[in-house]
Point group: C2
Chain length 149, copies 2
Amino acid sequence: MNVPNIKDLVDRYIAVSFSVEKKAASLVKNQIGSDLTNDQHFTLRYINQVGSCTSSELAEVFDVKKSAITAMITRMWEKGLIQRTRDENDRRVVYLTLTEKGSELYVKAEEKIHNLVESLINRFDQAEIQQFIETFEKLDKVLSQSNGQ
Amino acid sequence: MNVPNIKDLVDRYIAVSFSVEKKAASLVKNQIGSDLTNDQHFTLRYINQVGSCTSSELAEVFDVKKSAITAMITRMWEKGLIQRTRDENDRRVVYLTLTEKGSELYVKAEEKIHNLVESLINRFDQAEIQQFIETFEKLDKVLSQSNGQ
DNA sequence: TTTAACTGTTCAACTATTTAACTATTAACG
DNA sequence: CGTTAATAGTTAAATAGTTGAACAGTTAAA
């Protein structure tokens, strides 16, 4: 059979997605290793992007419970990477921002990851990798819809 | 700019890979929820595929330390999903196999995941998703090379 | 036969996560 | 207004997964 049927594709997708996930994580850990876990790096990344956000916002973006965010933020706060500031108008709300140290650490790690990913991407034909990323982004949207229900 | 440069592609890849990883995990957890974690499911999947394997083999495949495997296997062994059998010729070695219960649980969960992934894949043009998976598999190989060094 | 290598386990420490109970604050409405 | 709802975030206990270091038992090599 030259044309794979749906069942084959499903099998291959399941296998390859798990494999790539694991290998990418371990590659980042081994080659970056910046005292930041994957989740911590992406938390810094998000806060850096939006400038300032709340725990609830992070919980929704990362699709975990708020208490998980509290725990993670506390660990990074203890390392001096993140600042907590109470809103003076609504004193329930706590704004999260990067400290200088957090920002510097993030930028350094991000640069390394960038180089790493670039070296991977450069091993592909540009049209191929571009199409790949576009389909990946479509998949991301489809997953958002599926999860939202 | 119609043609994205490399930096854009790298940014987009980093963002989308993390997002899809999180969303897929949470979708599986919410819609499958079979008393198995993701890692446990993939462990059962691997053992089911090869029939029988050792801790060291799993540690290498999943790229974690052997003590992590011991802990995970112990948890599944306590649930009656996995059997440990000492090699009579080389008494250092312990073979891991699925129990009846482990096999049944795996097959049930696998079927659900299969249906879920199929429903996702069916929302794409078949040629597009096929190309996507092929590039994904190439990426997997590239990551293997990068990790092996 | 002593030494080296290998397989797997245990233990302490850590990150990440959920659930449930809780505090403090703000909003709603009767 | 005052009681009740909802909201934002935290705490605590439990579980999963992970590393690193030390260790036991077994086999291979010198």
